[in-house]
């Protein structure tokens, strides 16, 4: 680690923080666009003007939006995400119950799809133009072209309806036994893995091909290196940054994918929670969930950027 790398990494972290702040502004003011008065919605049409006024004061709604934003931001920084309008439970508590489930789903999906996808992506790059490469290309373009619910319904038709291996749309909740766990996870994980693998395969293939076109790889060929050596020793070390970026970006697709998958398979995760909050217009809960998703995205992208910086030999040996 030298000071140049430290400076760049620090700069990247600052950018991430600034971005998070802008995101908070956008999310807060987008939800503040809500037409009509929240208090009216909460208390119903029959509420007395005094009750409305009282609740408005209690919720700081009589203060200017900027002030409310600062208050919200201050609470956010201390981990206080507010209280759900709908059931008066702290948002943090609601999210806390569900976040673990979503993370488990994401972890299992990543553990399966990252190694598979990277192997396929690098293989496709090495075998560029061959039948294998074309087959992988057809598969990936088909998967990235269709919505997640199509992959999910297709998986249901194949695994549940036709083959009858797995239950279709029920989350048993029984995660104590291995088979129960498998059954609960299988369909969501299969669906999500397909979706993010396709992205990852395409991007990692492109990253490796880009480095395979570098003059130093041609030079290795002119030194008598085998194809294997060109890829493993000369191309891959330089493709590390782009590949990590591909992985991070693909994993960020998980964030969108879980919304569909948790809904279809009735999986009790944070995305399902957010969707329910949208249908009840539970603003603090929506804000809290949205911030969690954006934080996850920023985390992934920032880690990828830092890996790119650290893995750049020109910076490492500056």
């Amino acid at each position: 680690m030298n000071s140049l790398i430290l400076r760049m990494v620090a700069g990247r972290l600052v950018v991430a923080l600034v971005t998070l702040l802008i995101v908070a502004v956008v999310i807060f003011f987008a939800t503040a666009l809500l037409p009509g008065d929240v208090v009216q919605i909460l208390l119903g049409q029959a509420a007395t003007p005094e009750a409305v006024k009282g609740l408005r004061t209690a919720m700081h709604l009589d203060q200017p939006a900027a002030l409310r934003f600062l208050l919200w931001l201050k609470n956010l920084a201390t981990g206080d995400l507010g209280v759900s309008y709908v059931n008066n439970i702290p948002v943090a508590e609601l999210i806390g119950n569900r976040l673990g489930n979503s993370l488990k789903l994401a972890a299992v999906t990543a553990a399966i799809s990252v190694p598979v996808a990277l192997t396929l992506g690098v293989t496709a790059a090495i075998l560029r133009g061959t039948l294998v490469d074309r087959m992988i290309a057809v598969f990936t373009i088909a998967v990235i072209s269709v919505p997640e619910f199509l992959v999910a319904t297709l998986a249901v038709i194949v695994f549940a309806v036709t083959l009858g291996w797995l239950p279709a749309l029920s989350m048993t909740g029984d995660v104590t036994t291995i088979s129960g766990l498998l059954k609960a996870f299988a369909m969501p994980v299969i669906t999500l893995s397909f979706v993010i693998s396709a992205q990852m395969i395409r991007m990692s293939r492109a990253a490796v091909i880009e480095t395979l076109n570098a003059p130093y790889v041609e030079m290795a060929l002119l030194k008598g290196a085998s194809r294997r050596r060109m890829v493993l020793r000369h191309a891959l070390p330089n493709a590390l940054g782009p590949i990590v970026n591909a992985v991070a970006l693909s994993l960020s697709y998980l964030l969108g994918g879980v919304i569909i998958v948790e809904t279809i398979f009735n999986y009790p995760g944070i995305a399902k929670l957010m969707l329910d909050a949208v249908s009840t217009r539970d603003l603090p809960l929506i804000q809290g969930c949205a911030m969690i998703f954006c934080l996850a995205y920023l985390l992934l992208i920032t880690i990828a950027d830092i890996v790119t910086i650290v893995s750049n030999p020109r910076l490492r040996h500056a």
Binding site: A214, P215, Y216, E218, M219, A220, L221, L222, K223, G224, A225, S226, R229, R233, H234, P237, N238, P313, R314, H317
Partner: protein, 552 residues
């Protein structure tokens, strides 16, 4: 001596971007004896690199050998499977690329990449290879030969990398080394050293070589024989001295003629006591946030002053990084000067072009090096030339069309070209359009920034002739910037030599016969290769001076 290489009726075709198939090598045959260095010379697109790579049994993607044979050390390369060819690369025949900076892998140390050749072929133990590598580093006159291998490619200079790539080529004890324009990207003072290093290791090892280049003067120093190529065909082949002194083929004569431009400075004009057209005083310019005194932290130009008399030409020469192109950008106002004054035709110009008056912008036009990037590929020639006419002179309709035709006449191009786009023109034609656009403004001063550097020798010579003709017809002055001293001397009355952002001296025809007096200028001028055999061997340069100035 026995035959090492036999090429017979080699034919290679390539697929263009548009999907057309063109034959780029058309029946080329030649031999190379053991220990002999043969130069392949020709302009861009002559197929010289394609032939050289095919000697290694390698054709770039998109190219295909359609006929003929290449026999290397008694083995026909084309008949071998790829895996057998790979065993010959690096061990029997090896390669020194044009850009070593791109050919070294940034992820590994130099030593690892040099000894990789013997690791691949298993030809000697790695420890022995390392010792041999250090020996080669020493033989190639590299600084710190014992430790330079531990560095990463981006930590050493371009000239050093070029020699290190030669070490990489030589470590496997090849019988043939292919040099692909290995000094083209280097400055002349560096080129002298690199050429010397190459020549001595090749002679000592008795290794045969193929030296690919467009530069006859460089080739004359190192090659035993020269093969002149054009459009994928051999024009002429002969011993170096014969080619230089008794060229048979018309194209060879053209090449040689382009190398000896009419360097005669024109007689000085009478209007000496006129106010100068351009006067530049005490320019300081650079990049980065200005400090308390308003000076940038990274200073590219340090107090540069010069003046250019009306109707005369001023050349600016120097090696890469000396600030000559920055000077052009500062005068044009693209990079505003932090200090100093620019006076054009008696008017002081604002440092930033955005604050300059339209007449000032019109009077001073800049012509860039690469016509490929200086002409919008999406506009037709008449649009490109018509725009300044409409913008500066409010010309429209028929008047503008007529003027465009006139401009094409002035730069000696057929009027029919007006409907074409830049992509359909040759390099020389594009550069003429580039010039015509500056003429369209009716400029008084044209800044020419390396305008001949990207062109082939013959084409560049024609552009220089055109510049001279235009100057005779119009009242024009040129500020001519180039790293090519011969070209500058061909067109300029006075020459400014720059080094590291400062003016070293201004050569005038009436002082010391136009010859340099300062140590750096002398080194620079003496490093320019001359078109005769034995120039390099006879060149005596003070090693102290070289060490002090050459940017290795």
């Amino acid at each position: 001596m026995t035959r090492l290489v036999e090429v017979r009726d080699l034919r290679i075709e390539a697929r263009t971007d548009a999907g057309r198939i063109v034959e780029i090598i058309r029946g080329v045959s030649f031999d190379i004896d053991e220990g002999e260095i043969v130069a392949l010379i020709g302009e861009s697109g002559s197929g010289k690199t394609t032939i050289a790579l095919d000697l290694m049994g390698y054709t770039r993607p998109g190219c295909r050998v359609t006929g003929g044979t290449v026999t290397l050390d008694g083995v026909e390369m084309g008949a071998l499977p790829e895996s057998r060819r790979a065993t010959m690369r690096g061990s029997l025949v090896s390669y020194v690329p044009q850009s070593a900076a791109a050919a070294f892998n940034p992820a590994h140390t130099i030593m690892d990449q040099v000894v990789e050749v013997v690791q691949i072929h298993g030809s000697m133990p790695v420890a022995e290879a390392r010792t041999r590598a250090v020996g080669l580093f020493r033989a190639l006159a590299l600084p710190n030969p014992d430790t330079i291998g531990d560095r990463y490619p981006h930590q050493v200079s371009g000239g050093q990398l070029q020699r290190l790539s030669a070490a990489m080529a030589l470590i496997g004890n090849p019988k043939l080394v292919i040099f692909d324009e290995p000094t083209t990207a280097l400055d002349v003072t560096t080129q002298v050293e690199v050429l010397r290093a190459f020549k001595s290791v090749m002679r000592q090892g008795g290794i045969a070589g193929v030296y690919v280049s467009h530069d006859l003067a460089v080739v004359a120093q190192i090659a035993d024989r020269i093969i002149v190529l054009r459009h994928g065909e051999i024009q002429e082949e002969g011993r170096t001295a014969d080619i230089l002194e008794r060229p048979q083929h018309a194209y060879t004569r053209q090449l040689l003629a382009a190398f000896r431009p009419g360097a005669a400075p024109r007689p000085p004009r009478i209007d000496q006591d006129d106010a100068p057209l351009l006067e530049v005083r005490g320019i300081v310019a650079g990049y980065g946030k200005a400090d308390a005194e308003g000076l940038p932290p990274i200073r590219i130009l340090k107090d540069v002053s010069l003046s250019l008399a009306r109707g005369r030409n001023l050349g600016i020469v120097g090696e890469s990084g000396c600030g000559k192109s920055t000077l052009a950008r500062v005068i044009a106002g693209i990079l505003p000067a932090a200090r100093g004054e620019i006076v054009l035709d008696g008017r002081t110009l604002a440092p930033d072009f955005r604050q300059r008056r339209r007449e000032d912008l019109r009077d001073l036009q800049i012509v860039f090096q690469s016509a490929d990037t200086a002409l919008n590929p999406r506009q037709s020639i008449s649009e490109i030339l018509g725009r300044p006419l409409a913008f500066y002179h409010g010309m429209g309709g028929r008047a503008r069309e007529a003027r465009v035709d006139q401009l094409l006449d002035m730069v000696r191009l057929p009027r029919a070209l007006r409907h074409r786009r830049p992509g359909e023109l040759s390099g020389g034609q594009k550069q003429r359009i580039n010039l015509a656009r500056a003429l369209a403004a009716d400029a008084k001063l044209i800044l020419c920034d390396e305008i001949t550097s990207a062109l082939d020798t013959v084409v560049a010579a024609a552009i220089i002739d055109l510049l001279k003709e235009l100057q005779r017809e119009l009242s024009l002055s040129y500020l001519f910037i180039s790293h090519d001293i011969e070209t500058v001397r061909a067109i300029c009355d006075e020459v400014v030599v720059m080094y590291k952002g400062a003016k070293v001296e201004q050569l005038r025809p009436d002082v010391n016969d136009g010859q340099p007096t300062q140590p750096y200028s002398r080194l620079l001028f003496s490093s320019v290769p001359q078109l005769r055999t034995g120039w390099l061997d006879g060149l005596a340069q003070d090693p102290e001076l070289t060490r002090a100035f050459a940017q290795r």
